[in-house]
Amino acid sequence: MSIEEKGQFSVHYVQVMDKDGNIDMTLHPNLDESKIKELYHLMMLLRVMDEKCFNLQRSGKIGTYAQTRGQEASEVGSAFALEERDWVVPSFREMGVFIVRGVDKAKLIQGWNGDTRAFANPDGAHNLPLSIPIASQLLHAVGLAWAAKLQKKDEVVMVYFGDGATSEGDFHEAMNFAGVYKLPIVFFNQNNQWAISTPRTIQTATQTIAQKAIAYGFEGVQVDGNDVLGVYRITKEAIEKARRGEGPTLIEALTFRMGDHTTSDDAAKYRDPALVEEWKQKDPLLRLEKYFQKKGTWSDEYKNWVVSTVTKEVEDAVAAGLSVEAPSYEQLFDDVFAEKPWCLVEQQQQLKEELEGKKE
């Protein structure tokens, strides 16, 4: 009989920029100042767009909406590290990722208005549409990465999911496949610490989400999700590793959902407002502003310029998104199969008669 140690595992937490905007230069991701300004611009765009969508829902102009407030660094910093040819596989709270990927913002509005045409992908962009069944998209991402590997395409897949998603079987199956086939994939977990009313501590008994990677044979790392430079750096490294054929990484971006779960939710029912106040101090935009201030590259004029530019951009997008003609019923039947079967031909005709009858 013998007892031997089979291994030792550890998980790291990374922060490049603290909440006061101080940087650990040894960890700086080597981004030009202009790129850092670009990150700020994108994060502000997301914040303004997010507020706008929230207000649109409240005034009845769009349907249920999931806010991103507080998660700007996590979304923008991670997507910024991708190449255009890489794949994005989102969950449903990743408007910032879509913005970075250059998706038409008017389409994003249209999508939250329940219009299928918003999810059309005529140019073959490497973005999947948002996915509502929690964790299901993780396996699709695995398949995409597998296809890239089999066909020797230089494409990395980045898949987004929340802390709640890590409880689903799909998450574990995806992680396992990715480890077994050593796939070019980055699992980007937005741990905003809540799954609707369920806090992270009820979701899993582990200390971190990052450590779950160890059980699947690859690396997991926790990063301050409100630190855009940290998020960028860690994601960039993981993407490069995947591109070199060295397999997957799980990144846990530790952040916080500042708003309600969606516009249908009321967080006051289950969450101490003091927590929200606490996280306000760690705001990802504020932090970057402090960084610029320290560098001496900040001015109120600059901020005003950013805010007014993105506000105009968002207003134009909203105007365009809300003014599209209502979709036609025909697409209900056109969008199901490549070739319409008899039953849909028949049912489409029935609906046509029903609508014509109404007009009479």
Binding site: G63, T64, F92, N113, G114, D115, T116, F119, I132, P133, I134, S136, G164, A165, S167, E168, G169, D170, A195, I196, S197, T198, I202, Q203, T204, S264, D265, K269, Y270, A326, P327, Y329, Q331, L332, F333, D335, V336, C343, L344, Q347, Q348, L351, E354, L355, G357, K358
Partner: protein, 322 residues
């Protein structure tokens, strides 16, 4: 007292939990939050975290563990937050929940009720609006119940909880708060497997369930010249053949109205059974009013998809004038 369906369901859960310490509720956000529709509101306060459990986000976990809980002597009432996410638990539903009695030669059984909000009409996001009753019926070995209002919801749910076999209890979310009904404060049961004759009539039989009852009643307003007999199925499986056959033999004209899609659906099964049993009394082919055979669309088009009073009316006229 006049209450909404959410309150009626809440009362049924509460009274059964007070009465029987083995009854417990588990699911996503059902405890502190009281469920995303507040169906389980305040139950955790009264019964504690062991009996009203906020689980991790895992439908297969919730249903699979409920099977074990039931085998171990508890009476679990798992909630699936939206019926469209019951698919994440389908291997447990189909492979175990439906067959435990059969595969143990009638020696082990599952007293459990899987509750889930279902159906559309509230401009919800993708996958939040489905009417999956036929899937559950196809599992064979599960009772399927869908109430059409507060009074029925309470009595049917209490019966479901006391039933020795697994029940899927589907709650049309559109009617959670759309109208109130007089609901007795004390407990009462409504026998599973019995339909309700909502309105007696002699010309045309309408068979429906869930949120479609209101649509049928709206259609009835539009055709006062036809004496409709309206039947609310209440228990979708095993359904009340006797009541359906009796009515069909009386009117000879039948319209089945469901919110679910048509192919291989419950409406199709009812139509097949009635033509087998009543062919000589039928005066017209049985009509099915349903959603179209397409995936539930994004909500901008849901009103074109869901059956409406006009669609029901057209079928009433068709069987009437055949």
């Amino acid at each position: 007292m006049k209450v909404h369906m959410v309150a009626a369901i809440n009362a049924a859960l509460k009274q059964e939990m007070q009465k029987d310490p083995s009854v417990m509720c588990l699911g996503e956000d059902i405890g502190v939050n009281g469920g995303v529709f507040r169906v389980t509101d305040k139950l955790q306060e009264e019964f504690g975290k062991d009996r009203v459990v906020d689980t991790p986000l895992a439908e297969a976990g919730i249903v699979g563990a409920s099977i074990g809980l039931a085998l171990g002597g508890m009476k679990p009432i798992p909630e699936i937050q939206f019926s469209g996410f019951s698919y994440q638990a389908f291997h447990h539903i189909k492979q175990h929940m439906a067959r435990f009695r059969q595969r143990t030669h009638n020696t082990m059984h599952l007293p459990m009720v899987l509750r889930a909000p279902c159906s559309g009409g509230i401009r919800a996001l993708e996958h939040h609006s489905e009417s999956p009753e036929a899937f559950f019926i196809h599992c064979q070995g599960i009772k399927v119940v869908m109430p059409s209002g507060p009074y029925d919801a309470k009595g049917l749910l209490i019966s479901a909880i006391r039933d020795p076999d697994p029940v899927v209890f589907l709650e049309p979310k559109k009617i959670y708060r759309s109208f109130k009904e007089e609901v007795p404060e004390e407990e009462y049961t409504l026998e599973l497997g019995k339909a309700k004759l909502v309105k007696e009539g002699k010309d045309v039989t309408i068979i429906t369930w869930g949120a479609m009852l209101k649509v049928v009643e709206a259609a009835a307003e539009l055709c006062k010249d036809v004496d409709l007999e309206i039947i609310d199925l209440r228990t979708l499986w095993p359904y009340d053949m006797e009541t359906l056959v009796k009515s069909t033999n009386k009117t000879g004209r039948v319209v089945v109205v469901q919110e679910a899609t048509r192919a291989c659906s419950l409406a199709s099964d009812i139509a097949a059974n009635l033509q087998e049993r009543c062919i000589l009394k039928l005066e017209a082919p049985i009509e099915r009013v349903s959603a179209w055979d397409i995936p539930f669309p994004h909500f901008a088009l849901e009103n074109y998809f869901l059956p409406n009073p006009q669609r029901v009316l057209k079928s009433i006229r068709k069987v009437r004038e055949f």
